[in-house]
Amino acid sequence: MSSKYLEISQVSKAFGSQVIVKDFDLSMQRGEFVSIIGHSGCGKSTVLSMVAGLTDSSAGAIILGGKEVTEPGPDRGVVFQAPNLFPWMSALENVLLGVEQAHSRKSHKEQVQIAAHHLELVGLGDALDKKPAALSAGMRQRVGLARAFALSPNLLLLDEPFGMLDSLTRMELQDVLIELWAHDDKSALMITHDVDEALFLSDRIVMMTKGPEARVGEILEVPFARPRERKAVLDDPNYYVLRERVMSFLEEQVQHEASPALSTAPTPQANASTSVAAA
């Protein structure tokens, strides 16, 4: 019973007559890091949004910690693709906004300490009073991470959190994320279309079929020992085997779709996701 922390069963989502996700099944254990990978527009973000409680499902159920998800809750922290900081508030105020709600019993001083502490954890101890406009894109996403972690959620939901960053910043933030995640035994569900990011961070990679009516295609176990070192992971002979599995799955999805039309179109998604490997 307790081993299944999150259970997504037979979940579908339709917008009008368009069925985006159909019969999506996934269960997650406490403390697990799971990535969902798939082509753009396949419905990955819709799944995450349903787990976050921001979008209702059309059919099926999402059970989190024994309770059905119907709305956003304090047990989940969300990191969006864009940092979505409020430009009229400083970094500290942005983080504090959620802290005041999540730790409403604590004194204001303690709340400020919690917010400041989490900004220090993501390396922004010197930028507490800066407005988002004065921060770089990477720093803003750090604030986004701090805001989510400062709520002390059990489950982190990350919607392509580093998709808008250059590859160096992206790797830096992956390290920050993995450190924060390991720190107090959280579970994490992350959307990405970057294969290397998924391999480095996850315990399992869930590959989604191309929409419409997207569902779970394959699930890949990522056996690298933790704590992970980026270099050790890249040097592991298994790495390229696993990487190949994910890549060929994604390529199959595109060919599968293109085959009736006898198309020789390139696979832009697959190409895009390999770009980080070169870095």
Partner: protein, 261 residues
């Protein structure tokens, strides 16, 4: 583009505008000398108005005061009506922006009331309040509140879905959402509404004072028309225009400061 020299800039910001003003005054002189002999010419206008301009705060009688003194009365009246417009219009706009059913039920009535002229509101105000002063303020408020209402509603509706999602994920309370997110996010739109409303409030002052005979630029204008001192009409028009322009610039400056903040 090559950098502008100082003399270029002087030509652009001083010489050209002066040429424009000079041209209009010349045209005015020509018109009063030819087709409209009852229109006082520029020189006569100055001669007759001089007393009111050079002693702008002088009070010689109830309806015989310096032009800036009249302007001050009008500004106070506009300030009252405009404040009332903001006090009524801002919450109404917030409600319209936040609730679809509220919009559906009130939008038709707003669209119908919006184009109603101050000349139509004023008699109704006199009927309701039985006194000219509150009727004038009521008229200013009724005419000038709509840009505030509509822009505030637009600002609230234009809040990015991402902000709404963050607010939901952080489970902010209603009041916190209103004060920490909705209002700051809508503020630039609201300020555009405030600026347009002030413009209308000032526009309406003449109508409000004309019909009530209250002392002020508009009341003075109407009285001087009735006393056949047409030079003062032009003085009043110029004053109203300049004050309106200054008010708009002032609001624009506040607005610009707000956007960069």
């Amino acid at each position: 583009m090559s950098p502008k020299t100082l003399s270029d800039r002087i030509i652009e910001s001083v010489v050209l505008p002066l040429l424009g003003v000079g041209g209009v005054i010349a045209l005015w002189a020509i018109i009063s000398a030819t087709v409209a002999p009852s229109l006082p010419n520029p020189w006569k206008t100055w001669e007759v108005s001089k007393l009111y301009v050079l002693a702008p705060f002088e009070k010689r009688g109830e309806l015989d005061q310096g032009i800036l003194r009249f302007t001050w009365y009008s500004l106070v009246r506009v300030a009252k009506g405009y404040s009332l417009a903001l006090v009524l219009g801002t919450p109404l706009g917030l409600l319209l922006g936040m609730s679809k059913s509220f919009t559906k039920s009130l939008d038709p009535i707003i669209q119908i009331l919006r184009p109603v002229s101050p000349l139509a509101w004023l008699p109704l105000g006199l009927v309701i309040f039985q006194k000219p002063e509150p009727a004038g303020i009521f008229t200013i408020a009724m005419c000038s509140m709509w840009p505030t209402v509509l822009n505030t509603a637009l600002g609230v509706r234009s809040i990015p879905q991402d902000y709404v999602n963050v607010a939901r994920v952080l489970r902010l309370s209603r009041t916190k959402r209103l004060f920490k997110i909705t209002l700051p996010a809508a503020l630039p739109y609201m300020f555009t509404g405030f600026r347009l409303s002030l413009g209308i409030a000032w526009l309406v002052i003449v109508a409000a004072e004309m019909l009530t005979g209250a002392p002020g630029v508009g009341g003075f204008l109407w009285q001087e028309y009735n006393s056949l001192i047409y030079e003062h009409l032009i003085l009043c028009i110029a004053t109203i225009g300049i004050v309106g322009f200054l008010l708009d610039r002032l609001m624009s400056m506040l607005e610009a400061r707000l956007r960069t903040a």
